[in-house]
Symmetry: C2
Subunit: 268 residues, 2 copies
């Protein structure tokens, strides 16, 4: 195997991974586009995974992306630059202490953020003050209670429940997807419309088996082994059996389901 071949292989591998990510990106973001000139606040941009998608899909909109982590913002800034995008400004900021004037934005976008907040309703109420009247908010969150699979496994379910417990104890809510509708309504938004986005994976969809079941969901569960055992939420044998059973759902006769929820609402 010579170096040229390896590079060629890596390029194909990179393309494959990009395709895989593409399936989820379409599922979650294909119906989000902002008009030319509109000002969009992205809350909790992290390392910019969604930022690049947003900014590319709405090249004439102007994005302001914030995150609490200066380190993440550095990575997001680099990702946006590498993507050749120039319509994003970054700021280090906390959603509960925003540095912008009220009604500064036409749209707000929040993805995989509320699940980590102890006060998601208060966050939405603050974000509403940032929107001009008639502006929209878009919220996307997962719901770990939506995960089920074949073959069924009580051990896998117990391992997933550990993540739900750990996130709750950290002040978050891993089951928040199903609550997007009542949260947006209670925060005072109008025209609230929530839709489920199901990731259904069987072996006829090998991209999703790899990108979602293995590298997204199961990897996330594998990542909490240490804190789950340290907190005595589960014994090592059950946890490891659960992870094995999650991998078992990627066999030719396996099936895995997960649902994200996307809500869009308007400020009157």
């Amino acid at each position: 195997m010579n170096k040229t071949y390896v590079h060629g292989y890596q390029a194909r591998e990179h393309e494959r991974l990009h395709d895989q990510a593409g399936a989820l990106v379409d599922l979650l973001h294909s119906d989000t586009a902002y008009p030319s000139g509109s000002k969009v606040l992205e809350v909790g941009c992290g390392v910019g995974a969604q930022t690049v998608t947003l900014a590319r899909r709405s090249p004439e909109a102007r994005f302001t992306s914030i995150d609490v982590s200066e380190d993440s913002i550095g990575k997001a800034r680099q990702a946006v630059r590498l993507a050749g995008l120039a319509n994003v400004a970054f700021h280090q900021a906390n959603v509960f202490a925003l540095p912008f004037e009220s009604e500064s934005f036409d749209h707000v976008f929040v993805c995989f953020v509320l699940e980590h907040l102890a006060q998601p309703l208060e966050a939405l109420a603050i974000l509403k003050t940032q929107l001009r009247p008639g502006g929209t908010i878009t919220v996307i969150e997962g719901d770990h209670g939506s995960a089920y699979f074949h073959p069924h496994s009580a051990a896998a379910q117990a391992a997933i429940d550990c993540l739900v417990t750990l996130q709750r104890d950290a002040g978050g809510n891993a089951l928040i997807g199903r609550e997007i509708y009542p949260l947006l309504v209670e925060a005072g938004f109008d025209d609230v419309r929530v839709s489920p986005r199901v990731v259904y994976v069987d072996s006829s969809r090998p991209h999703l088996v790899d990108a979602f079941t293995i590298k997204t969901f199961t990897a996330m569960i594998e990542g909490i082994r240490e804190p789950a055992l340290a907190r005595d939420l589960i014994d090592a044998e059950t946890f490891d059996a659960g992870v094995r059973d999650l991998h078992r759902t990627t066999a030719p006769d396996g099936v895995f389901n997960y649902t994200f929820f996307k809500g869009v609402a308007r400020k009157a």
Copy 2:
């Protein structure tokens, strides 16, 4: 309130109920249509709820609808006649002892049947023999493990689990939706394609709150109270609290989710 008003109200009520059923019909059947002249076997037609939809959507196809119950067939025949449809023939027959020649049909349609069978794989293999080469099979099933809701309720979950247990003890499988893909593959079908059909209900969708959450799902759970208590699967207090909590999901801030699975495959 005079009689004319009451009739007017009832007509509107009838229309409303029809609209509600319509939402589910579209979700499950909108992508099923059979070509002119094709011969379609509908297995387990029951009282004809799906038969009317099928025959109306494919008026030039010829349907043969079977059920084990002569009584149900009588009702299905009446439903089809009332709908003004003439393209359905009914036969009392068991899927494991079909009276037709092999390769008699261009298409097979199976909806809410496999969940009740102890040998779903064998049933699919038999149905494959009824198809001409190149013909298709369509399978639709629910999955009670896909039900989750807000507010979350352990009692409601326990009541649902009673139904899963009762159905399993009766030889069926209330979680079969997620298994449609492996079952069709193992039965030897080609080009197996399964898609989830999510019923997402919040108070912005009052038709579904009434037609699905209350009158379909919760009513089904309420219907197993007696056998669940008789079999000591649950205590009355927990069961009744579970049913109350299912109704609680129909409040303005409640959310209810359920997923059906639809599989289509081809006989090589």
